[in-house]
């Protein structure tokens, strides 16, 4: 299953009911599929939730993932994204002693800003494509980040 692993983003529309998330994650672990990130939230004014799963695998594995997901009873729709807009949020906490204007400038380059400034720490955020978030985090490494959190990707087909 390790041949030609390709990164893939899959969106899943599911009935928002108890244990539906376990059904999805059990499917991935039970069949040996990979989850890079997973986000889930209810779709406004509906009985459904939307999951965005970043996964990887060969073409055959990805095809199986979408089919097996679809086979789950509470799953309404599965999108295997081809041409999408994809975004992720990252937040980083720094000591206030770091160079705030540098950090501010970097955040702006990645659709972000400083969102909180406290007595000892500041929190900066960025919202961008996951690949660019990687770069953002690399760029901020030298400012001694204390804590980093990434949201996982969300995506919409164009």
């Amino acid at each position: 299953m390790t041949d030609n692993r390709e990164r893939r983003v899959v969106s899943v529309i599911v009935v928002n009911e108890a244990s539906v998330l376990s059904r999805i994650t059990d499917l991935f672990s039970g069949r040996g599929y990979n989850i890079t990130s997973l986000t889930v939230a209810p779709i406004p004014e509906s009985k459904y939730s939307r999951l965005t799963i970043v996964t990887s695998g060969s073409i055959r594995v990805i095809e199986q993932i979408t089919k097996q997901l679809h086979k789950l009873i509470p799953v309404l729709r599965v999108y295997e994204h081809e041409d999408m807009v994809e975004k992720e949020i990252a937040m980083i906490k720094f000591p206030v002693s770091e160079n705030l204007s540098d950090i501010q400038a970097l955040c702006e380059a990645y659709n972000g800003k400083i969102v909180n400034a406290g007595e000892n720490t500041i929190i900066a955020m960025a919202a961008d494509e996951p690949k660019r978030i990687d770069n953002f985090l690399k760029a901020l490494k030298r400012y001694n980040p204390k804590e980093i959190v990434r949201s996982g990707a969300v995506a919409l087909e164009r």
């Binding site: 009935v15 108890a18 376990s22 059990d26 055959r60 089919k67 097996q68 679809h70 309404l76």
Partner: protein, 565 residues
Amino acid sequence: MQISGAQMVIEAFIAEGVDTVFGYPGGAIMNVYDEIYKQNKFHHILNRHEQASIHAAEGYAKASGKVGVAMITSGPGFTNAVTGLADAYMDSIPLVVVSGQVPMSLIGTDAFQEIDAVGISRSCTKHNYLVTDAKDLPRILKEAFYIARTGRPGPVHVDIPKDVTAQIEEFDYNIKLDLETYKPHTNGNPRQIKKAIEAIANASRPLFYLGGGIINANAAYEVREFIQKSGIPAVETFMARGVLSYDDELLVGMLGMHGSYASNMAMSETDLVIALGARFDDRVTGKLSEFAKNADVIHVDIDPASISKLVNADFPIVGDVKNVVNDMLTQIEKIDALKYESWRETIKNFNALHPLAFHEDSERIKPQWVIKRVGELLGDDANISTDVGQHQMWAGQFYPFTRPRQFISSSGLGTMGFGFPAAIGVKAACPEKISINFTGDGSILMNVQELMTAVEKKIPVINIILNNNFLGMVRQWQTLFYDKRHSETDLSVQPDFVKLSEAFGGVGYRVHTKEEFDTALKDAIEKNVVAFIEVIVHRMENVMPMVPAGGSLFNMMLLEKKESK
């Protein structure tokens, strides 16, 4: 009408036409058992172990084509049932299994006999429910039956806390189901079907690859018509035994690890595989890269996830195999049966070269003989269940099956202990047929307590124990692949099977010769009570042919030719 959750379960069963429920009571399910006591619309069969209840419900479902129903309590009652759920899931058997759960207020507190039942059954059921409000119960039960029997069938588990079975609510079973997220495709795409028919017409060595899905879809007679009119040879999987009658000229045999030489060679030489309700299991395909190497593949299946999972389908058709075959039959005139004459001849020659056979032995009965003999004596009059191991493969190879739903076996999961309780379920579904369970000296002990069930409910299952004092299939692998190190497979220490059966109130026979076997079988049928017929068979017999695990289908170990003196 305002009734309790427990009464709702009973009313739903009645509305679904359930006539037999297999189960075992316990604390959390007592409210429902109280209602079972008060009704007379269906039978309850008390198995002596929850695993057996599920297998019995599986046997019932497979033999009848209806949804099998079982009922169990929480905690250990449920965990005992898990093997049965997994077995039914692997073989796509429609079941509704209702379990009791501790009251809602105690869930999550590690209460007495509490286990996260839906958490465990999630990965071995088609779907499951934890009912948190009796208001939802009519809908959930109706959905459970619907989901179990439609699409690719499978077990559905409904876990009901004790206070929910006591809760009184309005019951209306005439609700319309609105399953927006579950809509199985039953009709094949007409364009794909047309293309498939063209591919068949253009092929020179096409081969039907028949799977258990045909039996689930009740499509065996349509498939028989298709095969007869097209003149195309067919191989069956173990699950599909009985789709074609054993004497059908176009039936090549069973394929796979213990398939016939001709079947495996036909699959290796074909230029077009027509897979109907089969899922390219590893025990069928052997080494995937060598499987039907030069063939295109038509794959008809109700489950889209089965298509191109292991072998790429050139002509994928998602749909109910009955509908698809009926659609194909309307275009049958495009197929010229005469075209495949030389292909049929080739396959005949394969069969003549290495026919499915065994060598008789002057000292001990050969296990294969027993299977053949029961076939000669009972044939169509018997339904055949099996346990798991060598005897199971011999039953698949040598019994002359004549109809679908005649053969009931644990195929995908390979569950030892399946056969006896399943045969009880089969007999409950088809009382007019003799219910035979071929079993081994290993398997029979795994649900031997069902003697009590069969005696109590007067269910005359005949268990034919092929006793080689070995865990035979594992012993065979050890002999062939582990340099004859027979680790923990020698079962020389055994109970007295005759006395064991008698101790429960059944009958028992120990048989050393062919004459004794005929007499014992005749006597057991006449006595019409549960029976053990222990046949002392040759100890070291191997199931042949054999494709070693991971090997190519055409590289079979074959029955050694008898040395000529």
